[in-house]
C-alpha cells in the first residue's frame, strides 16, 4: 500500500461507471434547498418557544403543520449533516480503519438522532398530554 503512488481514481479509471457518482452531490444540494426554508422556520419556532412554558411549547410542536415541518427539518438536517461530515472525513482522515470507523459512526449517530427526533415529534403530536398524565 505504501509503495502505491497512483491514486485510487487512476486505478479505477477504465472499469466503467457505477452510474451513481452524482448521487451524493445531488442529495446534498436537494437537502440544502429544503433547509433554506426549514432553517428560517426553525429559527422562528425557536424564537416563539423562548417565552413559552412547557405546555405551550408542547402545544406549538403538536400543531399538525409544525409537527410535519419539524419532522422534515430533522430528516433533512441530519441527512445533510451526514453528507457534509462524510466529505470532511474523506478529505482529512487518511488512516483507512479510522476513516471507516468514523464514517460508520457518523451514519449511525445521524440516523439515530433523526429516528429519535421523529419518534419524539410523533409522541408530541399524537398525545394529548405528557405520558402518565
Amino acid at each position: 500500500m505504501s509503495a502505491q503512488l497512483r491514486t485510487p481514481l487512476k486505478i479505477a479509471l477504465g472499469l466503467g461507471s457505477a452510474r451513481s457518482g452524482a448521487h451524493h452531490f445531488m442529495v446534498q444540494r436537494i437537502t440544502a434547498v429544503a433547509l433554506i426554508g426549514l432553517g428560517l422556520w426553525i429559527v422562528w419556532i425557536a424564537l416563539e418557544m423562548l417565552h413559552m412554558d412547557y405546555a405551550a411549547a408542547r402545544a406549538l410542536i403538536a400543531r399538525p403543520l409544525n409537527a410535519v415541518l419539524m419532522i422534515s427539518f430533522v430528516i433533512a438536517s441530519f441527512w445533510h449533516a451526514q453528507l457534509g461530515l462524510q466529505v470532511v472525513i474523506e478529505d482529512y482522515v487518511h488512516t483507512r480503519w479510522l476513516e471507516l470507523a468514523s464514517q460508520i459512526a457518523i451514519k449511525f449517530i445521524c440516523f439515530l438522532g433523526a429516528a429519535a427526533s421523529v419518534l419524539a415529534i410523533i409522541r408530541i403530536a399524537l398525545a394529548s398530554g405528557p405520558l402518565g398524565s
Binding site: 505504501s2 502505491q4 432553517g39 487518511h94 405520558l131 402518565g132
Partner: protein, 131 residues
C-alpha cells in the same frame, strides 16, 4: 499514520490568506459545529416528549452561560452556513465565478452572517425585555 506515501502540497502554510479560502474553511467549520447543534435539537425534542422535568433540564442548560455561548455560536454558524450555502447553490448554477464577484460575495456572506446574528439576538433580547 496515513496509509499512502503520496506527497501533499504545503498549501495552508504557503498561500496568502484571502477571503476565498476563509469562507470555504469556515463553511466546513460551521457545518461541523451545526451538526453538534442538531444533537441539542434532538435532545430538546426528546425532552419535550418526555415531560416537564426533562424539558426543564434543557431550559436550564440553554439559559446557563455555557448554553448561551453555544447558542450564540450556533446562531452565527447557522447564519453563515445559510448565506454561504445559498452562495454555493448559485455557484452550482455557474453564477458568481468572476474573481471580483467571488471576492465581493465572500464579504457579503461574512458581513451578512453577523447582521443576521444581530437581528436574531435583537429578537431574543426584545422578547426577554417584553416578557
Amino acid at each position: 499514520m496515513p496509509d499512502t506515501a503520496r506527497p501533499l502540497s504545503p498549501h495552508i502554510s504557503i498561500y496568502r490568506w484571502q477571503i476565498q479560502m476563509v469562507t470555504s474553511i469556515v463553511h466546513r467549520g460551521t457545518g461541523i459545529f451545526l451538526a453538534l447543534g442538531l444533537l441539542l435539537v434532538a435532545w430538546a425534542l426528546i425532552a419535550l416528549a418526555s415531560g416537564p422535568d426533562a424539558f426543564a433540564k434543557v431550559t436550564a442548560f440553554s439559559s446557563s452561560w455555557l448554553g448561551l455561548v453555544l447558542l450564540l455560536g450556533w446562531v452565527w454558524s447557522l447564519a453563515f452556513h445559510f448565506l454561504n450555502g445559498i452562495r454555493h447553490l448559485l455557484q452550482d448554477l455557474g453564477l458568481g465565478y468572476a474573481p471580483a464577484t467571488f471576492v465581493r460575495n465572500g464579504w457579503i456572506v461574512t458581513i451578512g452572517s453577523f447582521v443576521l446574528t444581530a437581528l436574531v439576538w435583537a429578537c431574543v433580547l426584545a422578547q426577554r425585555g417584553g416578557a
